[in-house]
Amino acid sequence: MSDSTARQLDEASPVLAIDGLGVEFASEHGWLRVLDEVSFAVGPRETVGLVGESGSGKSVTSLSVLGLLPRRSSRVVGDIRLRGRELGGLSTAELEDVRGREIAMIFQEPMTSLNPAFTIGDQIVAVVRRHLGWTKKQARAHAIEMLGHVGIPNPRQRVSEYPHQFSGGMRQRAMIALALSCRPRLLIADEPTTALDVTIQAQILDLIREMAEENDMSVLFVTHDLGVVADICDRVVVMYAGQVVEEGTAEEVFCTPRHPYTEGLLRAMPDVEDHVRELVPIPGTVPPPWEFPAGCRFADRCSYAQDRCRQPVALTELGPRRAVRCHRFDELDLEGAS
């Protein structure tokens, strides 16, 4: 492939394309299907929010992209392509080249990615040397630069400190510095601000946004917080009980939702600027995978459900990258955020 065609591919085609992803876990009841026909894409420089409550399958989706599901007790079908390259067939060694280099991940709890026994600097140095093959000296200079970049004061001194010497917000910044040290094309952020105080959350969201812009990086942002999505995401994929139920731009999904579950989430979400609107709960809870209904999975909790909603329902394309999984989408007039 010539350089120019590679660049064209870069501009037009998605950084991440997930197509027909299904995941089964081994359980005492045999193989249990937890993800079903999940398809969506993350374009160049795009931030896509993967939204849903606990049990919706959003974290399993992001772990499959990284090939981090347990190999023996899980089965994966479907395609996951990173810049056109299929990740499914890669060996463990090949996957390790991709992780940290092309895809990086940050978590709610920074200590899942930081090793308490090594200094922050040594951890960045190890990653940079492993993936970019730089010398120790270059890597260390890069580590200091990265720490300064993510807003850690005194990076020259703090590079030799251990994770426990950092405060919660600073640890989150250090984790981001580590994740971005090899300039990945895609950052997967799994609830990275959920455990943080709001004033620190605001700082970290700004940092992720700046880093994505500076590095031409795409972000898959996994969260249950619609306020965070409204703040940082260009596009939204709403998941429910292991399926994608709606996809669109943030504006479309928030202002003209087409799935009753999306409407339900928006009506249940408190708004710090608005006390007049009554909070309407969604009755019931997300079913566990062994109780997923055979028909529409939301039907039991849906106030618009009819008999035909007991039948399985496919994802319908409403336009380019705009989709909904609902039998009644074209008859319902749903309420969006105001």
Binding site: V198, A268, T285
Partner: protein, 349 residues
């Protein structure tokens, strides 16, 4: 000390249900010569009327949970007064304290850690009645039967164990247990934080229903400012162990009188892309200071975009805020003036 409340603090002139006055709570850190006192809460005052919902909001380390624990006397109070129905709590001990505790119950963030995993739901719910009342086992059973239905679950659930329930259901069980002794005050310490939005609203509705039927008052300890706006009558904002401001919820949210409240509110994202992107954030630099070495004067001054010289020298005292409540900020007493009036209202946007 009088048994009767000396000074009514409520505006109604009636004795408030709970009065907290100049509360100070300290933890001892380290041992021997290295021992140091960490002042977790200092100079905190507020009151809660009968049947009212008062929320204390703040970030980690603000002292909001410590305040709650001091009220239940599960932490020693170093200074100040706590009166429940006019009765001083800080001096009670033994049986008297136990009696008061049946009148103040708590619901925590994680019901799994407050319910005994090897105890049937029936026994968990009836336990406070066994400790605090003379009811026999029949009467306690009957009460458990009523309580489980009052929180929207079924009598058959009484014969199950905590692991058989979802997070939202467990929170309902914890609430049933908390209201078993008909307390006049229930303290909810981050009771909604671990729940998904759809479940969170179910629990908010339940608490509101209980407030109306059982005329209970709530002290809500929370970090989620959006939820608090929807549930609280009045709100107090804490930072580094001190009350920055308090007042009617709508006044505090619409016209925050303290720069910290303003920053806190501006940092909460709203679930609407266009509205959220148009909002202006007041970014606070840095982190919350080490509570072992709190800044002199106003504890917020090291991060405050409006700090003045006096803020490092004097601790600001509570001052009546325009529109109701109080604010502890020098801007209101020593700040710049406009047309002979202090620039009191910071932002009404």
């Amino acid at each position: 000390m009088n048994d009767q409340a000396a000074v009514p603090a409520g505006t109604s002139g009636k004795t408030p249900l709970l009065e907290v006055d100049d509360l100070e709570v300290a933890y001892r850190i380290g041992r021997g010569r290295r021992a140091q006192d960490l002042i977790a809460v200092s100079g905190v005052s507020f009151h809660i009327d009968h049947g009212e919902t008062f929320a204390v909001v703040g970030e980690s380390g603000s002292g909001k949970s410590t305040t709650a624990r001091a009220i239940t006397r599960t932490l020693p109070v170093r200074a100040g007064n706590i009166r429940l129905g006019g009765r001083e709590l800080t001096e009670l001990s033994g049986r008297e304290l136990r009696r008061i505790r049946s009148d103040v119950q708590m619901v925590f963030q994680d019901p799994y850690s407050s319910l005994n995993p090897s105890m049937l739901i029936r026994d968990s719910i009836a336990e406070p009645l066994r400790v605090h009342t003379d009811l026999d086992s029949h009467a306690r059973d009957a009460a458990a039967h009523d309580l489980i239905q009052a929180v929207g679950l079924l009598p058959e659930h009484l014969n199950r164990y905590p692991y058989e329930f979802s997070g939202g259901q467990r929170q309902r069980i914890a609430i049933a247990r908390a209201i078993a002794t008909s307390p006049s005050l229930v303290i909810c310490d981050e009771a909604l934080s671990a729940l998904d939005v759809s479940t969170q609203n179910q629990i908010i509705r339940l608490l509101e229903e209980i407030r109306q039927t059982k005329s209970v008052a709530y002290l809500f300890i929370a970090h989620d400012l959006a939820v608090v706006r929807h549930i609280a009558d009045r709100v107090g904002v804490m930072y580094l162990g001190r009350m920055m401001e308090s007042g009617p919820t709508e006044r505090v949210y619409n016209a925050p009188a303290h720069p910290y409240t303003e920053a806190l509110l501006s940092a909460v994202p709203v679930p609407h892309p266009r509205r959220q992107r148009a909002r202006r954030r007041m970014l606070l630099p840095g982190d919350v200071p080490n509570p072992l070495e709190p800044p002199s004067g106003c504890v917020f001054r090291t991060r405050c975009p409006r700090a003045m010289d006096i803020c490092a020298e004097e601790v600001p005292m509570p001052f009546p805020a325009v529109g109701g409540g109080e604010v502890a900020c020098h801007l209101h007493t020593s700040g710049p003036e406009l047309g002979g009036e202090s620039v009191r209202v910071l932002s009404t946007a």
